[in-house]
C-alpha cells in the first residue's frame, strides 16, 4: 500500500512560517512553545557569498518510529494509512517519546500533562482535503501523499545535486532527499521527500534567528 509522507521544497520556502501558524491554528495550540510544524532558518557561507535557507519540519511519520518504540503504554501507533498517531487517552505524560524521537517532534503540554504530535490532519484528509500546512503555504512548498508519487512528481524539477548527508535515491536520479545536514537521518526510516538547493547540503550551517 501507499506510504504516506510529507514533501518539502527548500528551493521555494521563504521562511514565512504560515505553515507553522496554520498548524497551530488547526490544532488550537494557542501558546508559544509547542509546535507540531516548526520552521527554522539557517545560513552557510561567508560575506558576501552567504546563503540563507529554511527548513519546515514536522513528524516524519517514520516507518520505524522511535517514539512508538519508546512509548510504554501503546499510546503511539501506526494508523492504517501509515501515519504515526497518538491516542492521548492512553498517554501518561512520561515523555519517553520526546526523548526517543531523533527529530524532536513530540510536544509535551504542561497544562494537560500529556504529549501531542502531528496527526497529518487525518480527519481533514478523511474528508478529502489536504493537511492545513499544505494548503497554507504561499509558495506551494509543502505537499503530502504517497511518497513514490511525491518523488515522481517533484524529482527532476530543477532540484540541485546537493551533497546532502542522506539522499533518497529516486527513479529519476538523486534530486530529492529524506534528510539534510540540518535535519539528519535519525535511522527511523523517515517518510519525507525534500527538494534542496546547494547551500542546504553544506555541513557548515549555522542556525539563525529571523
Amino acid at each position: 500500500m501507499a506510504k504516506l509522507g510529507f514533501y518539502f521544497d527548500g528551493t521555494s520556502c521563504v521562511g514565512c512560517k504560515a505553515c507553522q501558524i496554520a498548524c497551530k491554528d488547526k490544532n488550537r495550540i494557542m501558546v508559544p512553545g509547542n509546535r507540531y510544524r516548526a520552521v527554522e532558518s539557517y545560513e552557510t557561507g561567508a560575506y558576501p557569498l552567504a546563503f540563507v535557507y529554511h527548513f519546515s519540519g514536522t513528524c516524519n511519520h517514520c516507518e520505524a518510529p522511535a517514539c512508538m518504540a519508546a512509548c510504554p503504554t501503546g499510546a503511539l501507533f501506526v494508523a492504517p494509512d501509515t501515519t504515526v498517531q497518538l491516542d492521548a487517552k492512553s498517554c501518561t505524560g512520561c515523555k519517553q517519546c520526546l526523548a526517543a524521537c531523533p527529530y524532536g517532534h513530540p510536544q509535551f503540554f504542561e497544562e494537560a500533562g500529556t504529549a501531542g504530535k502531528c496527526d497529518a490532519c487525518i480527519a481533514l484528509r478523511n474528508a478529502g482535503r489536504n493537511p492545513v500546512c499544505v494548503d497554507a503555504c504561499p509558495m506551494r512548498a509543502i505537499d503530502f501523499g504517497d511518497l513514490d508519487k511525491l518523488e515522481a512528481r517533484y524529482a527532476g524539477q530543477g532540484a540541485s545535486g546537493a551533497t546532502a548527508s542522506a539522499k533518497a535515491v529516486t527513479p529519476q536520479g538523486v534530486t530529492t532527499y529524506a534528510a539534510l545536514p540540518c535535519w539528519p537521518d535519525g535511522g527511523t526510516a523517515p517518510k519525507l521527500v525534500i527538494k534542496a538547493k546547494d547551500c542546504m547540503g553544506e555541513e557548515g550551517f549555522r542556525h539563525v534567528i529571523l
Binding site: C16, R28, I29, P32, C137
Partner: protein, 983 residues
C-alpha cells in the same frame, strides 16, 4: 493621508491669545465653556451634555483599579498574555464564551488526538461551523483571501484561498501570510482594550489638573462610554474655544469621521512625512512617472505574465517575502524557475533574494545615488547605453537634448564624467562611499546594457534615506539609459505592495465609499521627521503640506505653535514615526490627550482617555484603500464581519465621531450620510470589471474619487476601455442585506460574491488584460506624452529643482539632474574625518526592514507571530565577533538620540557596518534607564531632516553603535504584554 492642504485663513488673534493656562484654570475668567462642570473634577467637564446620568460610575467606583500594566512581564503568558484568565472572563461576561474557545488552549490537541484511536474515520471537522470570508485590512502590502470558520459566533479556525485552482495559470490561489493567518489572535486577543478608561492622575480642566508628567506611567480607571465622550467633548470644546484649532494636533488619519469633527470645530494641526515612499513622493510626475492611488511610480512595471520575458530582474531594496507577503514571492519564483536571473541590491541579502538565488550587490544604506552614478559612468564608458532611446524619450541626458525650460547649462552625462566638479563618478569613487566592489559595479552596469531585457524594479526603501532626493530620478535614468521601458521583458519602476510582481491598472475596481467631508481651516502642517520636537519647542518651519502632483511649495516660514491637545486616531504615528523620545515629551506637555485603538498602543499609553475600538471583524466598515484598492490587480475581496457588534465594549471609530459631534453641537447628518453597511453595499454595487478595450494608466493624482472617474474611458482612445458591473443584485438581495438600493444586472450574483469572498479576473497570455508599462508612450510619444513639462522622462527636470529650491531648506541649490548628495547622518557622517577615515563614535548604519511579524505597528502583539519571529536586530557575524557578541545575546544599540535593547541575530548576509532594526516594534521604555527594551527603531531615530526636503523621513539613515549588554537579559517578546486593565 495627512498633510492635505485644507484651506487657509487661521485667525492670528486666536493663536496669540493671552495667558491660556490661567484662563483655563479660572473658570470665571475663562468663560470658554461650562465652567462649573469643568471646575468639578470628579464630575468631569460636561459642557451642557445630558450624559452625566451615569456619573455615578466616577473614579471612586473604580478605586481598585490596577496599574496601567504597561509592561506585564509575565512568565505565565499562556494564551492569556499575562492576564489572569478568570478575572478576564468575569470582566467580559458577554464574550466569555468566545474567549474560552479562542484565546485559550481550550480545544486542546490532546482532546483532538484522543478521538483518533484505532479508528481513523473521523467526521469532517469543518462541519462544525461556517466559513466566512473575513476582512484582512492591514497596511501590509499583501491583501489575500482570509476565511474564518465560525461556530456559535466564535472563530475556531482560519484558512486561506481555496476558491480556485492554481492549475493552468488563469487563476491563482491568493494565499495568506502568517499575519493574516493569526488575525484571530488580534481580534480576540486578551490584550484588547475592553472599555473606555481614564488616566487616574488626569483631571479635566487643563493646566495642572492634567498631571501630564504621569502620561505613560500612570494607572487607569474604567469609565463608561458616556463619561469618556463627555470628558472628551468638554475638553475639546474648552481647548477649541480657549486656544483655537491651532492648539489641537490631529495625530493620525481621518479616523472614519473624527477628522470631520475636528474640522467642524475649525480644523487641527497635522503633520506630513514622505513615509513609505521616501523621495519617490517628490516630483516624480514632473519627471514623467506615474502617480496612482496615492502611490508614486505605480503601474510602472509589467504584469506577472511578462516577468518570464526578462533576462534579468533587479529587485532594488525589495523584500516581498516580508514586505508584500503572500503571492508576490511565488510569482517571482515562477520566473526564476523559468530561467530569469535575479539580482538584489541592498544592505542585506534578505529572504526573498535568498529564495530566488539572486546575485547580491551590497550597497550601504543611503549611498544608492553614488552606486548608480558609477553604474551610469560604466554604461557610458562601455557603450552600454541606448542612445536612440535617450534621444527620443528623455531630456537632459546630454547637452544636445536639453528641455526648453532649462535654466542651468549642465547635463547629466557631463556631471557623471566630471566636467563640472572634476570628479569622475567612476566605480572607484563610488566604491569608497557605497561599499560595493568595483567588480560588482561593473557587473551591474553590464547587466543593465541595452542588449539585455531588464526589469529594474524598486521598492521605496532606498529612498527612505536622508539625501535620497535625487535617487528616483537617477533610478529612472539608469532604466532609460538601457532602454528598459515600454517593451515586453523590460521595465523601470516600482514593484511594491499590492503591485508587487504584478503591476498594472486594476482589472476589477470597487467604487469608493461616499462619506461626508468637511474641510479644515488650519494650514499648519508639521514636518514629520521633527514634528514632536516642534511641539516640544513650540515652533516649527512651515513648509507646506505633503507634495502632491502639480503643487508647489511655499518658501519655508518660521511659525510658533502651541499645541495643547493631541487626538490620536487610526494610525499609530506615535510609534511609527521618528523620534519617540520627543514624542513622549510632547505628549507629557499636553493639557489633554485622547487616543482610540483596539489595543494599548504607544499612542494610547500616552493618553488621558483611551477608547476601545472594534476591529474589522466586528461590524461593517466601508473603507477606501485597504479593503478596496490596495490589492492584487486581478482580485477584489468581499468581506463579511464575524460579529455584528464589537467585543467587550468596543465601538467603531465612527461611533466616537458621531457621539462627539452630537455633544459638540455639530449636526451629524451631513457628516455621516449613510451607515457603513449601506456604504459598503453601494461600493459592491459600484464594482466594475474590465472586459475589453485598451487598458490605460489609472488617471494621475490622489484617487479618493468615485470610480466613475477612475474608470473613465479616454474619449480620444481608439479603443476605449469597457467596464461592466460585477454584482448581479436582486431586490431580494437588497432586502436580505438590509439596505436600500436598486437591482442591477451583473456578472456574478451578489450572494455568490459575498459567500465566496472574492472575485478574480481570469487571465491568460495575450488576453488584452496584461500590462507593459509606458507602452503607449514608447509606441507613440507625441500622442501619449508623459505628464512632465517636456512630455518625456526628464533626466534634467527644472520643476524638481525649482520646487525643492523654492522651499529654501538648503542654501546650496539642488541641481535639476540627479547628482550625489552627502546624506545627513549617512555613511560619511560616521567618520570624524572623512578624508582620513577616522571613525566617530557611531560607526554602524541602521536600516529598518519591514518585518513579517507585523504590518507596521499592527499585529505585533500576537503570540503566534511573536513565537515565530523574535524581532532581533540583524548584524554581520564578523562585526559581532569583534565585539564579543554571540547569536541571541542581548545587545544595547545606541544613537545620538536614544537606546534600545534587543537580541542579536548574527548573519553573514548583512553588510559589515550595517545593523537591521525591524520596523514597527512596540516601544517599552524602562523608566529607570530610559532605554527602550521593546526595540523600536524610532527610539533611535532622532529629529533629523534630510538635505533638501523637510518632510523626507530618513528611516534608513541613522548612525548607531552596538555593544553586548551587561545588564539584565531581555525576555522573549511573548512574555511581555501591554495590557491596560482597570479591574
Amino acid at each position: 493621508m495627512t498633510g492635505k492642504k485644507e484651506g487657509q485663513g487661521l485667525s492670528d488673534s486666536v493663536r496669540d491669545r493671552g495667558p491660556q493656562n490661567d484662563a483655563r484654570s479660572n473658570s470665571a475668567q475663562g468663560g470658554v465653556c461650562g465652567s462649573d462642570a469643568r471646575s468639578n473634577g470628579a464630575q468631569g467637564g460636561v459642557c451642557g451634555s445630558d450624559a452625566r446620568s451615569n456619573g455615578a460610575r466616577g473614579s471612586s467606583a473604580q478605586g481598585d483599579a490596577r496599574g496601567i500594566g504597561v509592561r506585564s512581564n509575565s512568565a505565565r503568558g499562556i494564551g492569556a498574555q499575562g492576564i489572569d484568565r478568570r478575572s478576564f472572563i468575569k470582566a467580559t461576561s458577554a464574550t466569555a464564551l468566545a474567549l474560552a474557545g479562542l484565546s485559550a488552549p481550550g480545544c486542546s490537541p490532546q482532546e483532538k488526538a484522543s478521538e483518533v484511536g484505532q479508528d481513523v474515520a473521523l467526521p469532517d471537522p469543518d462541519e462544525q461551523g461556517e466559513w466566512v470570508p473575513v476582512a484582512c485590512w492591514h497596511n501590509c502590502g499583501g491583501r489575500c483571501l482570509n476565511k474564518a470558520l465560525v461556530k456559535d459566533g466564535l472563530v475556531i479556525r482560519q484558512k486561506t484561498d481555496d476558491t480556485c485552482s492554481d492549475e493552468g495559470g488563469a487563476y491563482f490561489q491568493n494565499r495568506a501570510c502568517p499575519r493574516g493567518r493569526s488575525q484571530q489572535q488580534q481580534c480576540y486577543g486578551t490584550d484588547r482594550l475592553k472599555y473606555p478608561m481614564k488616566r487616574k492622575g488626569w483631571k479635566p480642566g487643563g493646566g495642572a489638573n492634567s498631571n501630564g508628567h504621569l502620561r505613560g506611567t500612570d494607572e487607569w480607571e474604567r469609565i463608561s462610554w458616556d463619561e469618556a465622550l463627555d470628558y472628551i467633548a468638554s475638553e475639546m470644546r474648552c481647548i477649541y474655544e480657549g486656544y483655537g484649532p491651532r492648539a489641537v494636533f490631529h495625530n493620525g488619519g481621518p479616523g472614519y469621521g473624527i477628522g470631520n469633527v475636528l474640522n467642524s470645530l475649525g480644523g487641527a494641526v497635522s503633520s506630513s512625512s514622505t513615509e513609505s515612499y521616501g523621495a519617490w513622493r517628490l516630483y516624480n510626475v514632473e519627471m514623467g512617472q506615474n502617480f496612482v492611488n496615492s502611490n508614486p511610480d505605480m503601474e510602472s512595471a509589467n504584469d506577472r505574465f511578462d516577468l518570464v520575458n526578462a533576462d534579468t530582474i533587479v529587485l532594488y531594496g525589495c523584500n516581498p517575502a516580508w514586505a508584500s507577503a503572500g503571492s508576490p514571492s511565488w510569482f517571482y519564483k515562477q520566473a526564476a524557475d523559468a530561467g530569469v536571473r535575479f539580482v538584489y541590491v541592498g544592505p542585506s541579502r534578505n529572504v526573498s533574494a535568498s529564495m530566488l538565488d539572486a546575485r547580491w550587490i551590497p550597497v550601504r544604506p543611503g549611498t544608492d545615488t553614488a552606486f548608480l552614478l558609477a553604474v551610469a559612468f560604466v554604461m557610458i564608458e562601455q557603450g552600454y547605453i541606448d542612445q536612440e532611446f535617450l534621444d527620443k524619450y528623455t531630456v537632459g541626458f546630454d547637452a544636445a537634448h536639453m528641455p526648453e525650460d532649462a535654466v542651468l547649462e549642465e547635463n547629466f552625462k557631463d556631471y557623471v564624467l566630471g566636467s563640472y566638479d572634476g570628479i569622475q563618478k567612476d566605480p572607484a569613487w563610488a566604491s569608497g562611499i557605497c561599499g560595493t566592489t568595483i567588480e560588482d559595479i561593473e557587473w551591474f552596469a553590464q547587466a543593465m546594457a541595452k542588449e539585455n531585457n531588464v526589469m529594474l524594479l524598486h521598492s521605496y526603501a532606498a529612498a527612505r534615506c536622508n539625501g535620497a532626493e535625487n535617487l528616483p530620478q537617477l533610478f529612472m535614468t539608469i532604466g532609460a539609459m538601457g532602454g528598459h521601458m515600454g517593451r515586453s521583458g523590460n521595465a523601470t519602476g516600482c514593484t511594491y505592495y499590492y503591485e508587487s510582481a504584478n503591476s498594472g491598472p486594476r482589472l476589477v475596481r470597487m467604487s469608493y465609499p461616499v462619506d461626508g467631508y468637511v474641510p479644515g481651516k488650519v494650514d499648519d502642517v508639521l514636518c514629520g521627521p521633527v514634528q514632536w520636537k516642534s511641539i516640544v519647542e513650540g515652533s516649527y518651519d512651515y513648509a507646506g503640506g505633503m507634495y502632491s502632483v502639480g503643487a508647489s511649495f511655499p518658501p519655508m516660514e518660521r511659525r510658533s505653535i502651541d499645541i495643547k491637545m493631541i487626538y490620536s486616531v487610526l494610525n499609530n504615528f506615535t510609534q511609527s514615526r521618528m523620534d519617540i523620545n520627543n514624542a513622549i515629551k510632547a505628549h507629557q506637555k499636553m493639557e489633554f490627550v485622547v487616543a482610540q485603538d483596539y489595543k494599548l498602543s504607544l499612542s494610547c499609553q500616552l493618553a488621558d482617555i483611551v477608547l476601545p475600538i472594534t476591529t474589522e471583524w466586528e461590524g461593517w466598515i466601508a473603507d477606501t484603500w485597504h479593503l478596496v484598492t490596495w490589492m492584487n490587480r486581478e482580485t477584489q475581496y468581499f468581506y463579511t464581519p464575524v460579529l455584528e457588534e464589537g467585543l467587550f465594549e468596543a465601538k467603531p471609530d465612527r461611533f466616537v465621531a458621531q457621539e462627539l459631534a452630537k455633544r459638540l453641537d455639530i449636526d451629524p447628518a451631513p457628516l455621516f450620510p449613510a451607515t457603513h453597511k449601506q456604504m459598503y453595499f453601494d461600493q459592491i454595487a459600484g464594482t466594475k470589471v474590465f472586459v475589453g478595450g485598451t487598458l490605460r494608466n489609472t488617471p494621475y493624482g490622489e484617487t479618493a474619487v468615485p470610480i466613475e472617474l477612475l474608470a473613465k474611458p479616454d474619449p480620444d482612445a481608439p479603443d476605449p476601455e469597457v467596464w461592466e458591473p460585477l454584482a448581479a443584485i436582486t431586490q431580494q438581495d437588497i432586502d436580505d442585506f438590509g439596505v436600500v438600493g436598486t437591482p442591477q444586472e451583473g456578472k456574478v450574483p451578489f450572494k455568490e460574491l459575498m459567500s465566496k469572498g472574492v472575485y478574480q479576473v481570469g487571465r491568460q497570455e495575450g488576453d488584452g488584460k496584461g500590462w507593459i508599462a509606458y507602452e503607449d508612450f514608447i509606441k507613440d510619444p507625441l500622442k501619449y506624452p508623459r505628464p512632465s513639462k517636456s512630455g518625456k522622462f526628464e533626466i534634467y527636470c527644472q520643476a524638481k529643482a525649482d520646487g525643492l529650491n523654492g522651499i529654501g531648506f538648503n542654501p546650496e541649490p539642488i541641481k535639476p539632474y540627479p547628482h550625489y548628495l552627502v546624506p545627513v547622518e549617512g555613511y560619511e557622517a560616521s567618520f570624524i574625518d572623512w578624508e582620513a577615515k577616522i571613525p566617530g563614535e557611531y560607526t554602524f548604519q541602521m536600516y529598518t526592514p519591514h518585518y513579517i511579524r507585523r504590518s507596521h505597528t499592527t499585529l505585533d502583539n500576537l503570540p503566534w507571530l511573536q513565537e515565530a519571529f523574535e524581532n532581533p536586530v540583524f548584524m554581520n557575524a564578523t562585526d559581532a565577533a569583534e565585539r564579543g557578541i554571540e547569536n541571541g545575546d542581548t545587545v544595547l544599540v545606541s544613537s545620538k538620540w536614544g537606546k534600545i535593547l534587543r537580541h542579536a541575530s548574527l548573519l553573514q548576509s548583512v553588510m559589515p557596518g550595517c545593523l537591521g532594526v525591524p520596523h514597527g516594534k512596540r516601544t517599552d521604555i524602562d523608566p529607570a534607564t530610559g532605554i527602550d527594551r521593546g526595540g523600536s527603531e524610532n527610539s533611535l531615530l532622532g529629529p533629523v531632516q534630510s538635505n533638501y526636503y523637510p518632510q523626507l523621513s530618513g528611516y534608513n539613515t541613522c548612525l548607531v553603535k552596538v555593544e553586548k549588554y551587561l545588564g539584565e537579559e531581555i525576555p522573549p517578546d511573548h512574555k511581555v504584554s501591554f495590557v491596560a486593565d482597570a479591574q
